[in-house]
Subunit: 167 residues, 2 copies
C-alpha cells in the first residue's frame, strides 16, 4: 500500500509540477502573467486551479498520514501566486518523503476516519481504493483539465509520467 | 487486486452512468437534444465526450482482461448517440461481471503487456498502480469535466459514489 499511495502520489505530484512548468512556458510565450491561471475554473461554481492543487496535495498528505498513523503537517490554504502553488506541491512531496514503507505495516486493516467522515471509518484498504485514489486523481485531473482548457500544450503522457516498462 | 480494479471500476462506471442520467435531465430541462453532449470537448485538440467514455470503458475492460488472462471482448468505437454511449458502459460492466476473484490469483506478478507497449511489459501490480488506475480515472474525470463545464448539476460525490463507512 506504500507504493500504491506514497510512491505513486509522489510521482503524480512531480508530474503536476511538470504541467505547471509547461503552463508557465505557455504564459511566457503568449506574454501573459502566469498568475492568471491561479483563479481559473471550468465552471463558475467549481473550485479554481489553486483549490484543485491544494486538494491534490492534501489528498496525498492525509492519505499518507492516516495510513501511517503519523500526524499530518498543517499547510494553510493561502497560496495566491504560481510560485506559492509550486511550493505547496513541494511541501506535500516533502511530507511523503518522510514516510517509510515500514510505517505502513498495519495500513491495510487499520481504521481510517477522515475528519469529514464525522467519526465514521473504513478499513485502510477500502479507504485507499474507494476514497484516497479516486479523490486524488479527481483533483489531479481537474488541474490538468483547467490548464488544458486554458490552451497549455500538455497531453495525457505529461499527466501519466514515465512508466518503467521492461523489455 | 480484483477489488482494486474490477469492483471499483464497476462502481465508477455505474457512477459515470449516473452522471449521464443527470446530464440527460439537464438537457430535458433546458430543452436541448441530449446527443449534443456526445461531441463536446474541453479543447479543440482533445478527445470529445464519446471518446472519453469509450476510453474509460476500455481501460476497465483491458485491465480486467490482462490481469485475468481472459480475452477481452471487442467493442467497436462506433457510438454516435447518448443511448449507444450508455449501452457501451453497460457492455463494459457486463465484461467486468464475468470476472471472478479467483481469475486474479496470479495478477500481481504476471507480465502485462498492453498492445500499445509494443512488446514491453510490467508486473501486474505496477501496471495497476502506474497505468490502469491513473488512466481509468483520467478519462472518467475528463468525462465529468466535460459535463460539468457544459453546465450539468453534478458534484464530486456523484463521481465518487457511495462509500461504505462504518459507524
Amino acid at each position: 500500500m506504500y507504493h500504491q499511495t506514497v510512491t505513486e502520489f509522489k510521482k503524480m505530484l512531480t508530474n503536476l509540477d511538470g504541467l505547471m512548468v509547461k503552463a508557465a512556458a505557455h504564459a511566457d510565450h503568449r506574454k501573459f502573467d502566469v498568475n492568471n491561471y491561479v483563479g481559473m475554473r471550468l465552471a463558475p461554481d467549481m473550485y479554481p486551479l489553486v483549490k484543485q492543487i491544494q486538494s491534490v496535495c492534501d489528498s496525498a498528505k492525509f492519505c499518507a498520514s492516516y495510513l501511517s498513523g503519523k500526524q499530518a503537517p498543517k499547510h494553510e490554504d493561502n497560496e495566491t501566486t504560481w510560485t506559492e502553488l509550486r511550493a505547496r506541491i513541494k511541501k506535500a512531496t516533502t511530507c511523503l518523503d518522510e514516510m517509510k514503507p515500514e510505517d505502513f505495516k498495519n495500513a491495510a486493516t487499520m481504521k481510517v476516519s477522515p475528519k469529514w467522515a464525522q467519526g465514521e471509518w473504513l478499513p485502510g484498504e477500502e479507504y485507499v481504493t474507494e476514497v484516497a485514489i479516486p479523490n486524488f486523481y479527481f483533483h489531479m485531473a481537474m488541474a490538468y483539465a483547467i490548464l488544458r482548457h486554458a490552451g497549455v500544450d500538455i497531453g495525457k503522457m505529461d499527466y501519466m509520467g514515465k512508466v518503467n516498462f521492461r523489455k
